[in-house]
């Protein structure tokens, strides 16, 4: 990197200088020291101006509100207000059968709706002890990674737009369109797929999907290289993102911040590797890790993750097994649609599942999956029957949003939008 970007010289009081001899893997102490240097800005002690950023503000990505105390341009204090988009999803879940909850999970993180479906289904399957057939697991992995790609491309566009480049946003949207087309082909919907089912997925892969999907994942790494050419070596982006919003691994543990933000802090935590689900344990891929814990490294982590996603999808398409796409489990799963009109048992199963719902045993489970934004945990407590007694979603955006004070105090207003975008918050996900 140093051959492309001259990082300047560090001076004792110059908080904006970049350390020229920065080791590629700074220790925790070094990161803390860098963060402390940012906080030196707080020592001026000027008059405080309070300003409400959001809920109606161009770069709060929805209706997130941050009440800022500013000393000039420096953020002295920040109070996030979460819940403007609260829809009571968890309460709604208590009045629906497990099948009917799946469309609600779409509306959590609508940028990666399939990952949300998937997380809930994994938890429900764990509760009911449903074995997912191999083909369904591979299809789920493909769809999950497509949603990760779509999410990261959208993230990239929005993040860069927050730094002032509007054209790049359009470039990203154009490429996201290919992924949404794939989703439309696969699920019939572009945004809220409701594609996962308990025990499998809703449909088999449609004809021609494989060729089209291969085309897209051949093409996307080229586009990712182009994004890097535009953004990674851009001097202004480097200056805006390097050593901004440092969030060490300790901070991440303290605030339960996961996903790319944690991996940019040097922690190789990825549930796809650590607690594999779907087909991830049969797939060869790398966990993207960077070590500087700043906005720039979060960008690098996401770029690597997108490349890895393409790799995962390619392997899944290569090794796609034959067989049913949903579990043959009459008590808990919907039958395959093509059987319903031919097979009376399947028809009875269909009616039973639609009108009565899956019969879950008593008990409680917690299952977490690695959605694009971080770890999404689903907790279900069942008293038996078709409806859960309590459902709890621990969605990453909520924790990322509430960590904003720790992330942004001592930074400047311009950095705030970069930092807020870099941790990737979607308000449907955060406010539930």
């Amino acid at each position: 990197m140093s051959d492309v970007i001259d990082s300047g010289t560090a001076q004792a009081r110059d908080v904006d200088a970049t350390p020229s001899d920065a080791p590629p893997r700074p220790t925790l102490e070094q990161l803390k020291e860098r963060k402390a240097r940012t906080r030196q800005r707080l020592e001026t002690g000027g008059d405080i101006m309070t300003i409400s950023m959001g809920p109606q503000h161009p770069s709060t990505h929805g209706v997130f509100q941050m009440v800022l105390d500013l000393d000039g341009e420096v953020i002295v204090d920040l109070r996030p207000e979460i819940g403007n988009l609260h829809r009571g999803v968890e309460k709604l879940c208590e009045h629906r059968t497990y099948h009917q909850i799946i469309p609600l999970t779409d509306r959590l993180d609508y940028n990666s709706a399939f990952a949300m479906n998937h997380g809930f289904c994994e938890a429900a399957e764990k509760l009911m002890g449903v074995e997912v057939p191999a083909r369904a697991r591979y299809i789920r992995t493909i769809a999950h990674e497509l949603s990760r790609l779509a999410n990261h491309i959208l993230w990239l566009g929005v993040h860069i737009m927050d730094l002032g480049t509007q054209t790049f946003f359009v470039i990203c949207f154009r490429d996201r369109e290919y992924l949404l087309d794939l989703f439309e082909m696969l699920t019939g919907a572009r945004l809220t797929h409701s594609f996962a089912r308990i025990g499998g997925v809703a449909k088999d892969l449609p004809d021609g999907f494989e060729q089209r999907c291969r085309k897209v994942i051949e093409f996307l790494p080229k586009r990712i290289a182009e994004y890097e050419r535009i953004v990674k070596h851009n001097r202004i982006y480097y200056k805006r993102a390097k050593d901004v919003g440092i969030f060490t691994s300790e901070d991440c543990y303290a605030w339960r911040v996961t996903g790319p933000t944690l991996r940019a802090a040097g922690v190789a935590r990825d549930l796809r590797k650590d607690e594999p689900y779907a087909a991830y344990d049969e797939i060869d891929f790398e966990v993207a890790v960077e070590y500087n814990a700043d906005v720039y490294d979060r960008f690098l982590v996401r770029m690597t993750e997108m490349r890895e996603s393409c790799k995962i999808i390619r392997q899944c398409l290569d090794g796609l097994p034959d067989g049913p796409y949903v579990a043959r489990d009459a008590a808990h799963s919907l039958p395959m649609k093509r059987d319903v009109l031919r097979d009376s048992a399947a028809m009875i199963q269909d009616f039973y599942q639609v009108f009565r719902g899956p019969q879950a045993p008593k008990g409680e489970v917690y299952r977490a999956v690695e959605v694009p934004k971080g770890e999404m945990g689903v907790y279900i407590r069942s008293e038996g029957g078709a409806k859960p007694a309590r459902v709890r979603f621990t969605t990453p955006s909520f924790y990322h949003g509430q960590a904003m004070p720790a992330l942004a105090v001592g930074e400047m207003v311009s950095d705030l939008v970069a930092i807020f975008a870099s941790v990737d918050v979607v308000l449907g996900d955060s406010d539930k």
């Binding site: 770069s59 730094l163 002032g164 480049t165 359009v170």
Partner: protein, 341 residues
Amino acid sequence: MSDPVAQLVFLIVKAVAMPLIIITMVAFAIYFERKFAGFFQARVGPTYLGPWGSLQSFGDVLKLISKEDVIPLRSDKSVFKLAPYIAFVPAFLVMAVLPFGPVGGEPNLFGHRFDYVIANFDAGVVLFLAMGAIAVYGVVLAGWSSNSNYSLLGGLRAGAQMISYELAMGFSAAGVMVMAGSMSLVEIVDGQKGAFWEWYWIPQIVGAIIFFIASIAELNRTPFDMAEAEQELVAGYLTEYSGMRWGMFYLAEYVNMIVVSGIISTLYFGGWRAPFESWNVIPGPIWLFLKICVLIFIYMWIRWTIFRYRYNQLMSVGWKVLLPLSLANLAVTAVVVSVVG
């Protein structure tokens, strides 16, 4: 018709025509900005109103005029109303000293001498810098009088930014003044006789680049659009403005862009002169117009391509890089001119 009367008639005609031409150019500059933004972003831009959407700006202005005039309840109302004019008017005044063709010489129109400049003012460059400084008041007062925190931040940013970049701008323009031995824009163009390699942009290449960068800051455009910074400050000093008052700021931005492009063409790129002497059969105003168009296109290109600086980075670029460089450029120019003659 005696000569003084003819000169008076010419003056009135020029003084009336110039603002009209500028306003028309502004309308099309806005249209092209949107069209180019569309092309840069793989869109088509405005298409509905007029051929290829070319009347879009006129429709926009009609819409803005017909909108409700909202003045915030707790604003400083008189200042709030005054600010758009302070931003709008100075930009036009600079056009008075900008030569758009040959000045002086033989009678060339109906037996009278027609000067292609409204006022052959001795200190044209200084007038340009002064008017730029006054326009800052428009922005700062707009931010202050709105009684909104975002506006205030935007106004403060604009004030600090424009003042610090004006210095670099002034010093780099001083290099040209030293070379031409005059502050008059007419004489600066006279100093750049000949083809394009004899213009001031080659000896003053450092000054030209600094002047161009500083002018972007002066115009509040990306990467230096701190004062608006829509992703940070909503709309900066414009947050509370709506309707035609907002429109006046918007138009002022484009008038400024045309004026600054004109000044850059005049200082560094030979003003109304053709790039080759034999091409001077095409009249001067057309060459100036073309040069302004190219510069405006570069402004638009930059705006839709690159990132925005952070406020303190902007200040450090201004004070630590551009200002020392422009001073060094001025010193070297002065030494070379005094030695060479």
